[in-house]
């Protein structure tokens, strides 16, 4: 009896030491915990496993919080899974749930980093799905519509920008379109998605014209015009819906001014020109022509 009690006390002492070292030296704390979880008298104790998970969490916070693939996170998850299976009391159960939530939130932060810093769409998708998966463990009936809209809007904004700057980046264009269409599937009147998708179509039309080289034959010009007009009309439909919902939306007013100019719809063009002027929007009128020195440069002239 005395021996058992002494062993028990030794394990509790180790546990206590590990908890003390949790924040200051989680690596050392973990070494201690590894022996505690192997001991026959504590290996089936949910508390032991939960403490171990928190020690891993401290380590994870310091080193791998922003990693999409983290061995430490995997250890936390396997540890809290074991803790959950050991029938924890209600307090422990709640603590485990908080742990899931914290890891889930961590994935959400990774989504942001992957999108903003490395434009890693596939990675961000994986992180976003993991965010949802972990949150579902705590809130099985959680409605992710707001998260889906927020995520897809961000993806749509970032990748439409890349595509608008260089229409040869068709993969970015496709990612943006799919993301924005997902938003519109969930929320057809979402002004941000309508505006972004509309701008994508309009800017694509403008870039088609920009990219057309002098010397193109009339048939080619005709075909490009067909595509431009098709895109401008798609754009008009989307951006018009934003304007119809909010006739003070300056971005939609400015975009419609340019769209109607492209569509040579003079009455509507004049209507939106007037609105732009009333709202002091810069419509680039009377902008200076390109500088003489650039224009008169005879280099590379062809016939």
């Amino acid at each position: 009896m005395i021996l058992i009690s002494a062993t028990m006390l030794a394990q509790e002492d180790k546990l206590s030491r590990a908890q003390g070292l949790m924040t200051s030296d989680p690596g050392q704390a973990l070494l201690i915990m590894d022996s505690v979880i192997q001991h026959p008298q504590t290996k089936n104790d949910f508390y032991t496993w939960t403490v171990r998970a928190y020690i891993y969490y401290e380590l994870y916070k310091k080193t791998e919080k922003l990693k999409l693939h983290s061995a430490i996170r995997d250890s936390i998850l396997s540890t809290i899974k074991t803790a959950s299976e050991l029938k924890p009391d209600s307090e422990s159960f709640q603590s485990i749930n908080r742990m899931y939530k914290s890891l889930s939130s961590g994935y959400k932060k990774i989504v942001k980093v992957l999108l903003e810093d490395s434009l890693n769409y596939e990675g961000s998708q994986e992180a976003f799905n993991n965010y949802k998966k972990l949150l579902l463990k705590v809130e099985p009936k959680h409605n992710f519509e707001a998260d889906d809209i927020e995520y897809n809007l961000t993806v749509g904004s970032i990748f439409s920008n890349i595509f608008n700057e260089d229409n040869k980046k068709t993969k970015a264009g496709e990612i943006a379109k799919v993301a924005l269409l997902k938003v519109l599937g969930m929320q057809p009147t979402n002004s941000s998605a309508n505006l972004n998708l509309g701008l994508m179509y309009y800017n694509q039309a403008a870039n088609l014209s920009k990219s057309l080289e002098y010397g193109a034959d009339f048939t080619e010009i005709d075909a490009i015009q067909d595509n431009m007009i098709k895109l401008a009309k798609q754009s008009e439909k989307l951006i018009r819906s934003v304007y119809d919902n909010d006739n003070k939306n300056t971005k939609s007013i400015l975009a419609l001014y340019y769209i109607y100019r492209m569509l040579v719809d003079t009455p509507k063009f004049e209507e939106f020109k007037k609105k732009c002027k009333e709202m002091n929007l810069d419509i680039g009128e009377n902008k200076p022509a390109a500088t003489e020195e650039n224009l008169n440069n005879p280099q590379n002239k062809d016939k």
Partner: protein, 193 residues
């Protein structure tokens, strides 16, 4: 069994809540930051310039106009068109001739152009007056006004379902001393007698 680390959990949850707000805020900012505006590029002016350059390949000017610069003269106000023409002139030639762009709001009779482009703010009367003066002078007159060809322009820009097209008056081009291939007629949306 009591948790010694209970306070850690509370702290953790609080910090997670603030992290969530922070993430949401940042995502909103990214979304706003990346919302690009519409391109101010004037595709219609570019299309007109593509047509005008196309015309230089389809017409033949008299020999006396094959020296010096090839002058494209814009009458009226259309800054975007002039700007696009200048961009084209910076990289293209007509035969061996450099392209020079001139622009005045009112007609300047001292200019001896190869092409005159009347902007849409010109009325048929202005076109008619200039076409009378320009007869046999080797100038291709292009207008963008209803009845432009009837007023004396050889070519008139018109729009059909938002698409830029052109009408052609062969007689006016011949009177100006310009030659063109027969196939050119097929490119016109309408032939004006």
């Amino acid at each position: 069994m009591n948790f010694k680390s209970n306070t850690i959990f509370v702290r953790l949850v609080k910090s997670l809540k603030s992290i969530n707000r922070y993430i949401l805020f940042i995502l909103c900012l990214i979304s706003l930051r990346f919302q690009q505006g519409p391109s101010s590029f004037d595709a219609v002016s570019k299309t007109k310039v593509l047509f005008i350059y196309g015309f230089t390949k389809n017409f033949e000017w008299p020999d006396e106009k094959k020296t010096d610069n090839f002058i494209i003269y814009v009458v009226g106000k259309n800054d975007n068109l002039v700007s696009e023409l200048k961009k084209m002139a910076a990289v293209k030639k007509v035969g061996e001739q450099d392209i020079e762009i001139k622009n005045t709001t009112l007609v300047d009779n001292n200019i001896n152009p190869h092409i005159v482009v009347f902007t849409s703010d010109n009325d048929p009367k202005t076109i008619s007056e200039l076409s009378s003066k320009m007869k046999s002078k080797g100038s291709l007159l292009i207008s963008e006004t209803t009845g432009g060809c009837k007023a004396g322009a050889s070519l008139n820009f018109t729009y059909i379902e938002s698409k830029l097209k052109f009408e052609y008056k062969e007689d006016a081009a011949k009177k100006a001393g310009l030659k063109t291939k027969e196939e050119f007629k097929k490119m016109a949306v309408k032939i004006i007698d």
